[in-house]
């Protein structure tokens, strides 16, 4: 058993260290919690306001520097829930494309609920696009991690070309060319996966009328 004087001395030492800790925490909060984020914000707002404000776009596809712009229809980084035959559709979203509720389904690989959802989506995507169920790619029937995935695979885009072209009365070749224009390969040839950007593709289709 430690004697009472040792215990008391320990308590005093702890109090003294804790006081130093408090002073240092306050100083760190000023530097790291206020000055640092404000400095990064200042550089961002001066040097790259479009990116720092969320890659916002207007209906004509042009960039809007901030949301005060008034004509902003969304962010190029956020999926929007397009429905109807005249649009390219994004991936399923466990968040229902709500940016205030990002996230995935978190259903496991053996989940009966997930398997059922996949089968249902597969049938509905196949019916919407008039293709056999075996032609539907994986990203079309699975919910993304963020629920806000702005991309689809090139295979899923190709699947939707004829439907969109016929709904808009456009030649298939023209829509195919637009899909190519809004496609990207792996970054540096190795990073990530090839993809097609849904919102920018739909913005351009919309501009065509």
């Amino acid at each position: 058993m430690p004697s009472t004087t040792t215990t008391a001395r320990g308590a005093v030492a702890f109090a003294r260290h804790t006081l130093s800790g408090l002073q240092m925490l306050i100083a760190f909060t000023v530097v790291l919690g206020l000055l640092y984020p404000v400095a990064v914000t200042a550089v961002g707002q001066l040097a790259m306001p479009w990116q720092a404000n969320g890659s916002l776009v207007r209906a004509d596809g042009s960039r809007a520097e901030g949301r005060e712009d008034g004509e902003v229809v969304g962010s190029l980084l956020m999926a929007q829930g397009f429905e109807g035959p005249e649009w390219f559709h994004p991936r399923p979203s466990a968040a229902d494309y709500d940016t205030l509720a990002s996230g995935g389904s978190n259903l496991g690989p053996e989940s009966p609920e997930l398997v059922a959802a996949i089968e249902e989506r597969r049938a509905s995507v196949a019916a919407d696009n008039g293709v056999p169920v075996s032609a539907v790619p994986a990203d079309a029937v699975t919910a993304s991690s963020s629920g806000l995935d702005p991309h689809i695979s090139p295979a899923y885009a190709r699947l939707q070309v004829e439907r969109v072209a016929s709904a808009r009365g456009l030649p298939v070749e023209q829509v195919e060319a637009l899909v190519r224009e809004h496609s990207a390969a792996r970054a540096l040839g190795v990073l990530g996966d090839p993809r097609v950007h849904v919102l920018s593709l739909n913005l351009e289709l919309d501009a065509l009328g």
């Binding site: 984020p37 996230g103 978190n106 993304s144």
Partner: protein, 557 residues
């Protein structure tokens, strides 16, 4: 899976990442060694110590070092708890209310212990002030605490005076933040912003979409937090979807930068260690074990996700549930293995939806004790503790008194190490066992059967190892899980730290012995293999029974 279009890019991106880390290894490892050994102080640094009432010239014993560390962490928990509870009354709250007591306790402990377990969604719980002045600050200082403990342990080995002094906590904390974490975070934040990570004080406001729907435009100082979230191996997302959220991680290049940041300090610290003990070969040996096991985990996870076994992946055609198209299978797997092996816990894909084998591998990565290469500082001190175990085992085999780096490993030393090894497994297994027999624990489980057990075990492994990633199907925002996981995080962080510092103190109190003919060389491949096996055996023997009932049963079913 096609060889040319999937496997080759998958391997090439690992090669690219390793090349970048290799470039940084020597200069950055040397820089960190200089930061923690130089006695020179600039005017600003001296003024900082005066302003905070600290005497930087005191060389502390381990007990004093520990009391400083605990005192600082104690006010950190209390400060963050207060910020969380009072949020509604503070500016920049975006109209969000304060957190409930159990919830505030959980995130206060979570961020102070470098765990960043998150029961809440950032976008609907934390306003800008709590994110910046609370979470961002703890992201920095909790990482610097980890670094300080690692450096203190290395000093225990390196110092030969035998006076038991292991450095000054306040100086180590200050230097880790101001000379290592802050400058790199600032630069990384700028690069992330250029890639599309947002940085604004705007609130979340509604806008009308192209088709006439409503969507909220999000605001927030995200880039400044994202940078330190990865660099400090913290992992707490600004948004619920963490690094899979397009505003936290907009493309494959920012993704590579984020993986690079979370591996940067843990992979360079062995160099720092080698320089501080004045034998760089010792650092290479430690790095060899860390790198070999990390590579094995990356390859296993990548293979599992590309192969896509399991009912749901088979039904879909690939394991794309819970993954983003811009990352795809392989880049998601690389992130997953790296974030769990470094105790970061950020995710760019939902681990709960991984294949049985892939999810099991990332769980195993945490159960290894977060040492391959582990969290900032925590990875190095964890690995050095296991190196003492390996030296001890080798000593038993040949019947000599074991020694490591010139310090004798006697009964007291090995007792401290044994206790260290036992702390986290006890927390994981006891916590998991309680939660699958108590009603409030069972209520949180989303899926019955082996996957449900995996969900609970993943949660406690994540908390006790200060990782913070989740099988997020488990509903953990309840008072039961918030309180219990908070305790697991607190004990899983500070009990091991106390034992590490106690060992550092005992080592520093010994004069260094010259190596003799009977000394086990600890820089040769034999020792690398011995240490690698020790890591695997300690984790394996502890957890395989529980793993067989969870992910192993699931992968075999």
């Amino acid at each position: 899976m096609g060889l040319v279009d999937t496997v080759l890019p998958a391997l090439a991106q690992v090669g690219l990442l390793v090349a970048l880390l290799a470039l940084a290894h020597r200069p950055f490892g040397a820089y960190m060694a200089a930061v923690y050994t130089t006695t020179r102080r600039g005017r600003v640094e001296s003024a900082w110590y005066r302003a905070t009432g600290v005497d930087p010239d005191v060389d502390q014993r381990w007990s004093s070092y520990l009391v400083s560390l605990l005192g600082f962490s104690c006010v950190s928990v209390l400060g963050l708890y207060a910020l969380g509870r009072l949020q509604g009354a503070l500016p920049l709250s975006l109209g969000l209310p304060g957190a409930d007591p159990a919830g505030a306790w959980n995130f206060a402990v979570s961020f102070t212990t470098n765990t960043n377990w998150q029961w809440y969604s950032g976008e609907s719980t934390a306003g800008h002030l709590l994110q910046m002045a609370g979470f961002t600050v703890q992201n920095f200082v909790s990482a610097a605490v980890g670094l300080a403990v690692a450096v203190a342990l290395v000093r225990g080995f390196a110092r030969s005076r035998g006076d038991g002094r292991i450095g000054n906590f306040w100086v180590d904390l200050t230097r880790g933040v101001t000379r290592i974490l802050l400058p790199i975070s600032f630069l990384a934040a700028l690069v992330l912003m250029a890639g599309g990570v947002i940085q604004t004080f705007d609130p979340h406001t509604a806008t009308t979409t192209l088709t006439g729907g409503t969507q909220h435009l999000l605001g927030g100082p995200v880039a400044s937090q994202e940078a330190i979230k990865e660099l400090g191996t913290n992992g707490g997302g600004f948004f619920n979807a963490n690094s899979s959220h397009p505003f936290e991680n907009p493309n494959a290049v920012t993704n590579l930068l984020e993986i690079f940041l979370l591996l940067l300090i843990p992979s360079a610290l062995p160099r720092t260690f080698g320089l501080m003990v004045d034998d760089r070969r010792q650092g290479w040996a430690i790095l060899g074990v860390m790198g070999g096991l990390w590579a094995a985990l990356v390859l296993a996870t990548t293979w599992a996700e590309l192969a896509g076994a399991g009912s749901a992946p088979q039904a879909a055609g690939a394991a794309m549930e819970g993954k983003e198209v811009r990352f795809g299978l392989a880049t998601s797997a690389l992130f997953a293995a790296s974030t769990t092996a470094t105790s970061t816990g950020a995710v760019n894909s939902m681990h709960d939806s991984f294949t049985g084998a892939g999810g099991g591998t990332v769980l195993f990565a945490m159960l290894l004790g977060e040492v391959v290469p582990g969290g900032v500082g925590a990875g190095l001190y964890g690995m050095l503790m296991l190196a003492v175990v390996a030296v001890f085992l080798a000593g038993l085999m040949v019947g000599r008194t074991p020694e490591y780096l010139g310090k004798k490993i006697g009964q007291r030393e090995i007792t401290l190490v044994a206790l260290y090894v036992l702390v986290t497994p006890s927390l994981v297994l006891v916590g998991t066992a309680l939660s699958v027999v108590l009603a409030p624990g069972l209520d949180g489980i989303q899926e019955p059967g082996p996957h449900g057990l995996s969900e609970v075990m993943y949660a406690f492994a994540s908390a006790a190892n200060n990782n913070g990633s989740a099988f997020a199907g488990l509903s953990t925002g309840t008072p039961y899980y918030n309180i219990l996981l908070g305790l697991a995080m607190l004990l899983g962080r500070f009990v091991p730290i106390a034992l590490v510092l106690a060992l550092a103190g005992r080592l520093a109190a010994q004069p260094s012995l010259p190596a003799s003919a009977g000394t086990l060389p600890t820089h040769r491949p034999t020792f690398v293999a011995l240490l690698g096996s020790t890591v695997l055996v300690v984790a394996g023997l502890t957890f395989i029974p529980a793993l067989s009932l969870g992910p192993i049963a699931e992968a075999l079913s």
